[in-house]
Symmetry: D2
Subunit: 351 residues, 4 copies
């Protein structure tokens, strides 16, 4: 049993890591950090976990103590906090999966542009592996530091990869319209997440440039060997609690049928354990509703020949494939065990 720690365990992503790891056959959670709740039982913050982790309490220990207890650590902190902790952890040789954006971008200048701070450890950016198994499985296997992708980015990338790699879309006119549930905003209340205000919304936000664009453009450019890609991405809060859907609207550079698109996606994702291609009635297009609670990405598409355009769609559970599930998938790869361990429960339906 690998001993794993979760730094930042009291929020939704932390809680989801604990939920998934609670029944994982190959690991044991030996540390769950929280400054605010140190000393309290896990279930006092995560009522779904009543009856689990009865021998573990939230705590808040030194890096040294953390290293004694853990073989692998999930760092699940806000941006600009991980950059302080993670370098210390790495020095000791422990393996780290960072769920914050702090090590996702390769170019240090991008942190200034997109996140507004100068990155204090630019050399680590080269060392970090972007934790999308569908792009970097082999590098993840050997990585000491995995930078787990954002939820919007995961959905955007998985909708686009086969099309961009396939060379049939205009690279400078890609629109990614994202819809997300409220859990994406985390556990901290605000007016915007207050139920009466948040219920039933169709609310665009960060419409003039969302930070996740940086990693999507980076990874697609990398996929193309350096060719630039422009992404116009606008996320929209909708009334669900869980789920994220990316609808990527693309303009075609050549005639292509839905059948041909299907072939390219099927081929690209043939061996992916967590990608399912959706096609045919009665559930014709991907909908996050049917992946809730699981690590799956449902992918689908529509082609409108009349005006040479397509809609490429990817649906995920933002807390699973968009956060905790994907991090555990990376962990499984790093540990050399079956990628699906701890992640094989089917999605809920209806939910």
């Amino acid at each position: 049993m690998a001993r794993v720690g979760v730094v930042g365990a009291s929020g939704y992503t932390g809680g989801e890591l604990l939920r998934v790891l609670a029944t994982h056959p190959d690991v044991e959670v030996t540390y769950a950090s929280s400054r605010e709740y140190a000393g309290k039982p896990i279930s006092s913050v995560h009522p779904n976990l009543r009856g689990y982790y009865t021998n573990l309490k939230f705590s808040n220990v030194s890096v040294d103590e953390m290293l004694k207890r853990c073989d692998l650590i999930f760092v699940n902190t806000p941006s600009k906090v991980s950059v302080d902790i993670t370098p210390q952890l790495l020095e000791s040789g422990v393996r780290v999966i960072d769920l914050s954006p702090d090590f996702r971008l390769k170019n240090p200048e991008d942190y200034l542009t997109w996140y507004g701070f100068e990155h204090p450890a630019p050399d680590l950016l080269q060392k970090a592996v972007y934790g999308l198994p569908e792009l970097h499985r082999e590098e993840i296997r050997k990585a000491q530091l995995v930078a787990s992708p954002g939820c919007n980015s995961t959905a955007a990338l998985l909708s686009l990869i086969p099309a961009v790699a396939g060379g049939f879309v205009e690279l400078d006119r890609i629109v990614v319209d994202v819809k997300v549930g409220s859990s994406e905003a985390g556990i901290k209340p605000s007016l915007g997440t207050h139920h009466p205000e948040r219920a039933n919304v169709m609310r665009p936000y960060e419409a003039d440039g969302h930070r996740h664009v940086a990693e999507v453009e980076q990874e697609l450019k990398n996929l193309l060997g350096g060719r630039e890609v422009k992404i116009a991405l606008v996320p929209h809060a909708v009334g669900s609690v869980r789920g994220a859907l990316a609808t990527s609207h693309v303009w075609l550079t050549k005639n292509i049928t839905e059948q041909e698109v299907w072939r390219m996606y099927a081929q690209r994702y043939a061996k992916e354990p967590f990608i399912r291609i959706v096609r045919g009635a009665p559930f014709r297009y991907p909908d996050p509703k049917y992946v809730i609670g699981s690590n799956y990405t449902d992918v689908g598409f529509a082609v409108e020949g009349r005006i040479s355009r397509a809609a490429l769609m990817a649906a995920i559970d933002n807390l699973m494939k968009g956060a905790a599930g994907q991090a555990v998938q990376a962990m499984n790869i790093m540990l050399g065990i079956d990628e699906r361990n701890g992640l094989n429960t089917p999605p809920l339906r209806p939910a």
Copy 2:
């Protein structure tokens, strides 16, 4: 008091017409048709209207009888039904507001292409006025036949008109991503609208070409004096009951700031009684949530200079500005009364 009839009064749009007209100061509803519920009180189908229309029952009478009772008739039937009824009504001289798509398109061939039937009264297509007051107020005033716009079309057009007229967007790369509530599908149950399946969805539909595209392209082309416009429109069902949001993603043909966009929108819509421009925190972008129950369209925008693109947004209540409210607005114009009569209740909040 004008005497008005509602053909097709037992569904959601019919019910919304009855709701709005119940307290309208200048009209009286003298006819509410339903084959299925003929003889039953209005409130047996529309429980919100208990205590209203206590002297009116659903009925189903001949066209002649209808004409005796009514000065103006809302025809609110499915596509291909209105084409049978409306010509007869028009012959008698009564004024008609048709809420179906049967008279929205000018080119008879478009009915074959988009709706799959040969239009039996192509000459009436020229006579009909597309009932968007923001484009055709003066023609509506004199019209005998108004073809009231679809809900997706209304949101799409109102988001785009000032930008397209302003000449700063690429006309062949316009993406309109629409989110709509469940009431848009009407009152008839199906698996897709069954609550357990419909709750919490983020579900694309008709992603390879929605019929409303035809009227959006027609009206924008007309606005530009005949220049072609391509619209890639994908609607998405989300978890709300009411509301529609169009996010129009456009690529800019010149440098333009949000301030300049604001000026163009403010100017274009300056005298519109039902358009409100949204700008500035804390409710920065339009959200249908804040127009529920009203005839308003909230319009807003975001510009991302980095890649020369903008998001242009319009939020409506799909049953009001997207259907019944807009039809009543047209009626007010036709009757020469204040356009806001019967439509001045502020939106609900929270809702």
Copy 3:
């Protein structure tokens, strides 16, 4: 036009008062108070009211200044704040409708028991009129101080009054199980109202004795000329934004049919402009869903002869008949105008 002020105008009940009063034909809002938002436009806090109140800003003035501007004042503050302001207002002769609980109870000791403070103005408690028109219409007409009922209390009382007055229920075994939407908790965010936590709940709260019990027991006892009534009331938060349903479970003291219950309710409420009796398929029992946005109370009942018990139900919009609407109804009575003025818009459906 009467000039009215709203003390506490930035929350949900304050916003709802402004919404209703915006189109009220007989009054003008001349004052809307907010400490936090003083100087800001109404629509910066209430985005639904964009385009309304364009000449009014939130402000925060002295009592003297308030009295100059207003003929009648809605005091809409948290408990223990109104007791400080209201006495000063009353001294000047202005009429006050207090939406807080501070003047609802007649017995000063009840404030110690249920609210935990010693009431500083016990003499005013006798002067105050409990603002439920269905019980105290004539006293409201002449009142200087109306204490507007709580939302749970309104639903509980209106479900029970005819049955308790009719003498067919056990008075010491009444259970009132209430379901309420999230708007009932007000505009201030907390973990309990955070959308991911509040969506989809079925959450009992204050299950060991809710404060509203005090006013329900007081009014029923008063109705019975002093006979004691025991109320076991448990509210439950459910997933809606608006609405409150009281299901009063009672044990019968004699054989009675649904038909007889109907007659007693119909008789008691015959002249009530805002009570509708629900009976018969397909919408057999009251549901707040069909009163949303209106001041109506839908009342209904079921009798189970087998075990001599009945369920008596009342459905309201908690922000309307449960708060702002009821206060405006009281205002109309006080002003001697039609009770329905400003309150005649039918409920939304679907919503």
Copy 4:
């Protein structure tokens, strides 16, 4: 591996059985019946199960064929269908878990009273074991026929058992107010489950006597050795998809503190693997929200000494502990394996 069949596999409970059994370590699903979908892949009806059961299709075979394929059969049909199939299955010696109400009641006359039909196999009623492990674990172990409880009944019983057994509540004044999500109504669409009508409801139904009362009264009477118990039960549809909460309102026959109630519940349920007792802030009372996707029942209580009454609450996922999960728990007991096998995934949160 035991070979199990699911008769009635295309609805929500059937789908939930397939979901749970998909990763169950000790059984294999060898038969999934559906008349309507015979020949179609499982995922064409249950899109969450894409990628599972790739070698199984819906089919509809004779009882003989069924018996060849299966060691144990879940019969998941509407009332009055199981009474036709189950006797044949039992004759062959196969073990059956019936999820319909057809074998829950011991007294054949109760079927006439509550279900409106004469039971054709009254002798089997004595043979059947009521499948609530918390009451009948040992009998389930040896049973050939288990009659799995209804969802309302499960919540009602688990909230009441320790109190009724403990002898501190009035047995003829028990009110059970139930709240349930929409999945409880099954997969067949109707106006009442149409999303626009079903969203945001607080809708009482079968308020004059719900069928599940029969089994609740039977089991409590049995628990008391034959003493009669009266249950006034009213279910309410609320806006969630999953979940059921029973709030049992009881009047106390003696002074008892929450601490004492806690002791009785803790003792009674000490060894129950799927009952969790909820107590203490910040999640003070049970809420189905925190058991979603799991087989847990969260139980809690509040005592109001002032009027000698208590609220006893039990929260379940209606498709799990209220249907499929409980049936699998019974199967585990029948197979002599760990009761938690296949059921150990923690609930989702937030959901």
